[in-house]
Every structure is written in structure tokens, then in C-alpha cells.
Symmetry: C2
Subunit: 163 residues, 2 copies
Amino acid sequence: MLRISKMTDYATLILAELRDSSTLASASELAGRTGLGLATVSKVLKTLARADLVTAQRGSNGGYQLTTSADTISAAAIIDAIEGPVAITECATDDIACELESTCNLGGAWQKINTAIRAALTDVSLEDLCTGTNIPDTFPLLPLAAIKPGVRNASALRRASKL
Amino acid sequence: MLRISKMTDYATLILAELRDSSTLASASELAGRTGLGLATVSKVLKTLARADLVTAQRGSNGGYQLTTSADTISAAAIIDAIEGPVAITECATDDIACELESTCNLGGAWQKINTAIRAALTDVSLEDLCTGTNIPDTFPLLPLAAIKPGVRNASALRRASKL
DNA sequence: TAAAACCGGACTAAAATAGTACGGATTAGT
DNA sequence: ACTAATCCGTACTATTTTAGTCCGGTTTTA
């Protein structure tokens, strides 16, 4: 559920390498360091460059570097760059009202959740991802938890424990 | 990014209808009420029944009803039921270590984030989804926010505002 | 016994994702 | 100027996932 694509995963790996590198790193260099295919690394880097997360230098001795420091690049930005600004539900994707709207009695609840998750991901930086800091094992969503003590059913617990 | 499948969306719609119904509701009844195809509704209901979120009554006059009350069914449980216990990254899916592990210097950061999101979704109930209550517009992730004041880059902000 | 309903699984079609390939443009060094 | 290294853009293919449909079987009620 709620998975990020492999490409986004790769992007994180690559960005992490760039973070460790003080100079320009070429696509083939990064391919070597990450163990991924050159073509794939190239593709990811091009996408990241278009999103302005990395800056490219062309020509011989060219390569890539982070546009800004690792603590100013958010997890949300990485996901956005690779996967585009896709929303959690179909009908949240664009401003066209979904055809089921009349029978849909869910007043955009999923969209709200989506926004909330995005906010959470915006507060996690590449630096955090690399160092593993600032990412708590559980995200106590205070306002929610305070209002209703987390009610969980058996199957949810069972699955959660396996995760 | 991070989208739930259409089927999960449908499941929520169907569960919401079941919540409003005091008696058994058949698949065709629910298809009518939601505006979805019968075959699709059937499929979703069967899956939900297997996950024990709804209880089926077979035979003539049969149908479905919620197994427990709407406030004991979590959003996480619904997603799990339809999409299975899939994790946010490939290598988190099973306990087999991913082949990139040696070069992967991301110590399961995505997995942590996944767990955190799951925790958040476990605290949102079907009842919440239906009524729209208890779902704040933003989820202030207190422990995170307290430690580092949300650093966002321009492109993240731009995209977020379009969402 | 017949009709209504769920059950399980197979099946197809469509869409998204992953990965590859290639000709073109840019730059540095010689 | 020439050449090699490198990024750029895009098109392409293959694979996987998702969505949606169908059907034969079982259960229950009347």
C-alpha cells in the first residue's frame, strides 16, 4: 500500500551519493557507486535536473551536484520530482469533479489525508533520510490521537505486526 | 504519489453505504446505491469479507454488513484488505534483503516513514472518513516539527500549492 | 426445487512502471 | 579544430500492476 516507485527509491539513493560528494559526479560514476544501470541512473538524474533538485554540468568533466544542501530537499520534493504531483485518489488528481460525486458521500476525506501525509513528507529532508535522524519510529499524530484513542481492529494489528 | 488504488476508493464508498444501512445489503443493492458496476462491487465485497471487515450472509435475502462498527474500522485496515500488506519500498516488502543493500546507505528510512504513515492511517476510522471529522487539514507531526522547522524548497512549495 | 445471493478463481484489457537506445548538443583538453 | 566525455530529449519495448468481467459452484430461503 502507498508505495513509492522504484525510481523514487533509486532517486533517493543517487541523491544520497551526491550528498556525499563534494565535487561533480557523472552519471556513470553514480551508476558505479550505487550499483544501478547507467541508463537508469541517467534517466533519474535527468528527471531530477528538470525538477531542479540537482544541477547538471555538461561537457567533458561534467556531471551533477545537488542544487541546494541536503537539508533543504524534502522527501515530498523527491517524490514529486519523479512521480509527478499525483494525488492519493483519482478524483483528487485534477479539478474535474469525479462522476461519482453525486453518490459519493466521502467529502474529500482521502484528499485531506493525502494533504496531511504530504505535509509530513515535506518535513523530512534528504539529510534526515541519509542520517536516519528525525524520523521517529512512530509518528504520533497528536491532534488526532488526542481526540480519539487509536481504535484498531484485530486484522489491522495482525498485519501491522508483520510489516 | 502515494496513491491508493481505485478499488480501495470503491471499498471506502461501499463501506460507507454499509455503515448507513442497518440491515443486510446485497451486492446489487450496493452497486445501485454507489453507481458502480455489480461485478466490481462484488469483487470488492468478497475481498473485504476475506479480510473480515464485512460479514456475508449467503442465500436468498443474503447480503453484507459491517463486521464491527464504523469507528473500529481503520483506514489502514481498509487499504490492507484491498491492496495487501505492501510496503512503501520494494526492499521492505519481504524479509529478503535487497541486493543493493551493500551500496544502500539509506538505513531503512523509507520503511520508517512507511510505518509512521501506517500509524497515522490506523488512527483514522471509517466513521471519520464518512463524517469528515477528526481529519485535520494538516497533520502537524509534532515530534518532527518540533525538532526541525519544516524546511521546504521552492519547487516543493509550488507543487504543494497546486495540490 | 427454484431463485437469490455469495464464493472462488480464471481471464482479458488497459494502464502504469521499468528499463533501454540513440541521435543531438555542449564543454574541456589537446 | 578535433575528439572524447558528458548531458539532453525523446522514442521505444517489455514487464508488471490494476481494473474490470465472467462463469461454474455452493448456500439459503421460500
